[in-house]
């Protein structure tokens, strides 16, 4: 009883941002944090998405403005940068989409084993990156 208050008890806290760099995540963990990052990115770029929707559907005149955004840019933002940001949006959407479908699949079939988590994480990353590559090539006029 005399040891109460004298023993060092371990304290567990959430890891800090500076520690994340040295943290080796499993593939499922990478998919998970990218799910969050892609969601946050799309949340912040929401006005751009709606601007693109607005100009592309409103009229033929605004449609031309939409098309020229990728060449001449928007305001002081050059067209190349618009393309890069839209490419980031495409990746974010695809990753968020496939990672989300992965979640729904896990909820439905109770896929909770380590192997299932790894395999589905690989599928998510391969699908989202491959489609990003294809759509990115189209965006930058490679085909």
């Amino acid at each position: 009883m005399s040891t109460i208050g004298t023993t060092e008890r371990p304290v567990y806290r959430n890891i800090h941002v500076t520690q994340i760099v040295g943290y080796r995540l499993p593939l499922a963990g990478i998919v998970s944090i990218l799910h969050r990052i892609s969601g946050a990115l799309m949340f912040l770029l929401l006005p751009l998405v709606i601007w693109l929707f607005d100009t592309s559907v409103s009229s033929e005149v605004s449609f031309e403005r939409f098309r020229s955004a990728f060449v001449a840019g928007i305001g002081f933002v050059p067209g190349g940068l618009v393309k890069l940001v839209v490419l980031a949006l495409i990746w974010a959407y695809l990753h968020h989409f496939f990672a989300g479908v992965r979640h729904l699949w896990m909820d439905m079939v109770h896929a909770v084993s380590k192997e299932q988590g790894r395999t589905s994480a690989v599928v998510t990353l391969v699908l989202s990156l491959a489609l990003t590559l294809v759509l990115g090539a189209r965006l930058f006029g490679l085909f």
Binding site: M42, I50, D54, V57, S58, F97, G100, V101, H103, L104
Partner: protein
């Protein structure tokens, strides 16, 4: 699900997250179906240009679906972004300010999107 109103409503502790969890999945499903609906129509034969693109969204059923998806997106993003603030931002004042910003941002964006949709 827990009681959300009256003198016996649940204000603290576990279980109130279930409705958020379910809402996030239902809204996600709606957005996934919307994505498929748009992709299929884009891939249908016909040259891609203003007429085809605007035509997709001017059909009445697509307007209704798009409106539902705008609301679903705002709700979905609210649950997700709120999770981020609750995980990383501990000071109550800062968290409240960020949550208010999130609501203003999402409601503003949703309003703009609906305005665009209604003009079609």
């Amino acid at each position: 699900m827990s009681t959300q109103f009256g003198s016996k409503r649940l204000v603290v502790g576990a279980h109130y997250g279930l409705s958020d969890w379910l809402a996030q999945r239902v809204t996600a499903l709606l957005m996934a179906l919307f994505t498929l609906a748009v992709v299929v129509q884009v891939l249908l034969p016909g040259e891609m240009g203003y007429d085809k693109w605007a035509g997709i969204f001017s059909a009445q059923w697509m307007k209704v679906l798009t409106f539902v998806v705008i609301v679903a997106l705002a709700w979905h993003a609210w649950v997700g972004v709120r999770d981020i603030w609750m995980d990383y931002v501990k000071p109550v004042g800062v968290r409240l300010a960020l949550q208010v910003f999130t609501i203003v941002w999402l409601v503003g964006c949703a309003g703009w999107a609906v305005q665009v949709l209604w003009r079609l």
